[in-house]
């Protein structure tokens, strides 16, 4: 069965520190998609990135970067020089070939000024 594990329930760092949010998934599918969504305190779900299973290139977008490693079934997310506005719950999600989204439990990130 497909599963997404975000082992870190809550992370608290001081502003300007780098922080990595872990995501590990389980699947037997060869074709799938991985996502990260941000949920700020206001509640909406904000799309951050999608990666398909055939593209293991790491991606950088400003202070955000993602490391996709099929060998370890991980899709980790790093925020460099964190800011208070990065405080949110971050969800990693897996989409199988039937377009079902399976969510991790989320990691609550607290950035202290």
């Amino acid at each position: 069965a497909q599963k997404v594990t975000q082992a870190q329930t809550e992370i608290s760092v001081v502003e300007k520190e780098d922080v990595t949010l872990d995501c590990v998934y389980e699947t037997r599918d060869t074709t799938y998609y991985l996502f990260w969504y941000k949920q700020p305190p206001s509640g909406e779900l904000v799309f951050l990135i999608r990666r398909n299973s055939f593209d293991e290139q790491n991606e950088i977008s400003g202070r955000y970067s993602w490391n996709f490693q099929k060998s370890t079934s991980s899709f980790n997310f790093t925020i460099t020089a964190s800011q208070v506005v990065d405080s949110a719950v971050y969800f990693c999600a897996f989409m199988d070939s039937n377009y079902q989204l399976i969510w991790g439990a989320g990691t609550k990130l607290i950035i202290k000024p």
Binding site: Y37, G43, E44, L45, F47, Y99, W103, G104, A105
Partner: protein
């Protein structure tokens, strides 16, 4: 750019009442998904529609029903509301026909059942 529009944003109901949530997908998105997110939980898939037909069903209670209309908007109807139905309800849309598979979520409708 147009986003997914959900209404109402907030709704307060009493137990055993009925509630209807509406979702307007991004233009040309033919697939709509409904998710329920309880306090401190990850979103749980309820149901999805593709081209106005139900395509998948998740953990949607029998008291809930949904449909997608000819203009692709969708409505989630909830009857005999229970305290446990208090949650944030998200609608998402995607251009599934094109295979893009990126779900764009609405801002959510927060339902409080008293």
């Amino acid at each position: 750019a147009a986003g997914v529009i959900q209404s109402p944003r907030h709704l307060i109901k009493e137990k055993r009442e009925t509630a209807t949530l509406k979702c307007y997908p991004i233009p040309r998105h033919d697939t709509v998904y409904w998710y329920q997110q309880g306090p401190g939980q990850d979103p749980q898939f309820l149901i999805s529609f593709y081209e106005k037909m139900q395509s998948d069903k998740g953990s949607i209670p029998d008291r809930f029903s949904a449909q997608q209309f000819s203009d692709y908007h969708s409505e989630l109807n909830m009857s005999s509301l229970e305290l446990g139905d208090s949650a944030l309800y998200f609608c998402a849309s995607s251009p599934r026909g094109s295979g893009a598979n990126v779900l764009t979520f609405g801002a959510g409708s927060r339902l409080t059942v008293l």
